[in-house]
């Protein structure tokens, strides 16, 4: 059964997620859409038919978003700025969490009886798995999922994201302190040395990985054009 209110909500959501259409713009477009629906229903159309035609008459969501973007330049810029802030905070969260994961893994393995270079290698691998999982998750994030815009971003969500940094730092710090406490100085010296090598390899591989991600995104971007 077709639910007009649901359909209107979905349509509004799609428009608002473009980030260029403001709340006031949405209100105006919503009023317009409802006027067309009322006009067509009066002519005998079903709600489904009326909604389909109204949507068509208002125009494609992407074209509309582009036109609104030309007028709402400041809004568009703030939207981009918001993404940069989210990217910066999110990147720092990932960095802290991966360091904490690596330290925690090393500590647990050592407590579990492992020693030598394998601890450093395992710690680096744990961090790498975390990064790969995060990047894969972001890459495959559903298009219909929640997308932050200057309207729907809440202080709670941002604080929730940022608070992961001190928590992860505390876990990482505690793990490293624990390692320093339980290892004898020679083993600890070797461990730090292995970890330092791991870190150099790791940070270089990370950059290569990001370039690969960028290339993948570029391929996705080009695909629909090639089809035309």
């Amino acid at each position: 059964m077709f639910d007009l209110e649901n359909a209107i909500r979905d349509w509004q959501q799609a428009l608002s997620e473009t980030g260029t259409v403001s709340t006031d713009d949405l209100l105006e477009l919503d009023e317009h859409l409802r006027e067309i629906v009322a006009e067509l229903k009066a002519k005998g159309c079903t709600p489904f038919e009326a909604f389909a035609v109204a949507k068509l008459r208002l125009g494609d969501a992407h074209d509309l978003a582009a036109e609104f973007g030309k007028v709402n330049r400041v809004r568009l810029w703030r939207q981009l700025l918001l993404w940069m802030v989210i990217g910066y905070v999110g990147g720092n969260v990932l960095m802290s969490v991966s360091t904490a994961t690596a330290s925690l893994t090393a500590m647990l393995l050592f407590v579990g009886g492992l020693s030598g270079p394998s601890v450093g290698v395992a710690a680096t691998v744990a961090g790498a798995i975390l990064w790969t999982t995060a990047v894969t998750w972001l890459y495959r994030y559903p298009a219909r999922g929640w997308r932050p815009t200057v309207d729907n971003i809440s202080a709670l969500r941002m604080v929730g994201l940022a608070i992961a940094i001190p928590i992860a730092n505390a876990i990482g710090m505690a793990s490293r302190m624990m390692i320093a406490q339980i290892m004898d100085s020679t083993t600890y010296g070797n461990f730090v040395w292995h970890q330092a090598i791991g870190h150099v390899v790791y940070s270089n591989v990370t950059i290569v990985a990001w370039v690969v991600v960028a290339l993948l995104l570029r391929r996705d971007h080009l695909a629909p054009r090639a089809m035309v």
Binding site: E31, R57, D60, K70
Partner: protein, 112 residues
Amino acid sequence: MISRELIAASTRPLVMAVLARGENYGYAIIQQVRELSGGELEWSEGMLYPVLHRLEQEKVILSRWAKAENGRKRKYYRLSASGARAQQSEKEQWLTVHQTLASLWGIQTCST
């Protein structure tokens, strides 16, 4: 049917001309243009709003939110004082183009 380019170029003077007749809102502006053009001018209706908002930024038109008879909020637009002058200049420009084309095509006009 009118071409896309001509529709894009004529939206601004058409909106100003409708608003010169009095305060109005998006849906009704489109209805008026459609009726007067005998259905020849088909706008992608949502595109009207960016045009209205640009005119508003240029202070050519003013707007206010009011409660409509259906109980929902509606944004009404009207021509400002400077908008009335801009409308006069738009009118002269379009008439110049119109008269030039009419003379070239040998169509008699009575606008002189």
